[in-house]
């Protein structure tokens, strides 16, 4: 899923300062799971912003709404009436959601309330880790299911680097060494031999480095 965290409340206060009546729009999918922008976070942020504005003697009117997904127009449409009642929208979705909402409502300022951070997994309650860089050419089969592009600090394709200590990365000892994990996993699978093959430099053309990407499923396009 997409992992993000809510922006610092002071930054949000500055963004919404020109508006006296705005909508906080949550997203009930990825950002809900990482406690950044679901219904609960919308309610908490709204309450905090109301308190802050009352303290400063400039009360604001805040409407709260959470749609299932902000990256899909069918769900965004559900917010149309609420958007029309407000001067601006503070979106708590990922950057894709914010842009999709802005596209749908060209006359409303749409402000981002979340810093979109990475594609990751929920390791345990409250801990999310980055596990995919969305490179557009998945090589997990080569690396035993552990991605060195997103999980090795040096993005080594023929690792490890030699600095790994007791399974931890030398760049950040709080992080597991991706190459330690790759070797462990391939050993467990009895496929360590796989690492004898040289892995050539990655062609990043398929990633964001090759420019903005588009995915077309012709069978779904009419």
């Amino acid at each position: 899923m997409i992992v993000g965290e809510q922006k610092p409340v002071q930054e949000i206060l500055q963004m919404v300062a020109p508006h006296r009546k705005f909508l906080i729009l949550g997203c009930g999918t990825c950002v809900k799971t990482c406690f950044a922008g679901g219904e609960d976070e919308v309610a908490l942020l709204a309450s905090a912003l109301r308190l802050a504005s009352r303290k400063d003697g400039r009360p604001v009117e805040i409407e709260e709404l959470t749609v299932e997904r902000q990256c899909e127009d069918a769900f965004i449409a559900e917010a149309a009436e609420a958007v029309s009642r407000n001067e601006a929208v503070l979106s708590l979705a990922c950057g894709a959601g914010v842009q999709a909402v802005a596209r749908r409502f060209p006359r409303s300022p749409v402000l981002p309330g979340v810093n979109t951070t990475f594609l990751g997994v929920l390791e345990h309650q409250g801990l999310f880790t980055e596990e995919c860089a969305g490179c557009g050419d998945c090589q997990l089969a080569v690396f035993g299911g552990v991605c060195p592009f997103s999980r090795c600090a040096k993005k080594l394709l023929n690792g490890p680097c030699g600095g790994s200590q007791e399974g931890k990365c030398e760049v950040d000892p709080d992080t597991e060494c991706a190459w330690h994990l790759i070797i462990e996993r391939l050993s467990a699978l009895g496929r360590l031999d796989q690492l004898r093959a040289y892995v050539p430099p990655k062609n990043w053309q398929t990633s964001l480095s090759g420019g903005p990407r588009k995915l077309i499923r012709k069978d779904h396009v009419i």
Partner: protein, 159 residues
Amino acid sequence: MEKPYRLSVFFCTRIVENEAPLLSQAPESVEIRPVPMACSSMVKDLFLLKALEAGADAVSVWVCPEGACRHVQGNLRAKKRVQRVQSLLEDIGLDGRRLTFFNLAPQDRVSISSRLEEIAALLAGIGKNPAGPPRSRDAEPGPATPAGLEPKAPDTHPG
């Protein structure tokens, strides 16, 4: 006569089974709005902010001593949520001391009384909640816990 300060107390019913001991020990300057909880894990960050929005000048969360929660980690979860809301209050420029958190042993009336006096002294120093709703002198005090947010008394594990 209306007391100058309002305090919402969210308390685990293992500390005191109902609000009577709190109300009977209320300091002279403080009107207490008690919110009983079957376990302190029921306290949500939103409830604490809503209490301030509804007019509480201070909010206090009372939980069992560490290691003594009947749901194992309820009081630890409550503590983390309180810490988060304290820092949120600081971020928005409201004094984080308005939200207090105490571990209290069951039926410890002496500590209850001294904690309430501590809060009364704190309120005398920091004053009313500047973000509360407007208060008229004759007005009936509004709810310090907004409708719909009163924790229900569950008979199941609150999770």
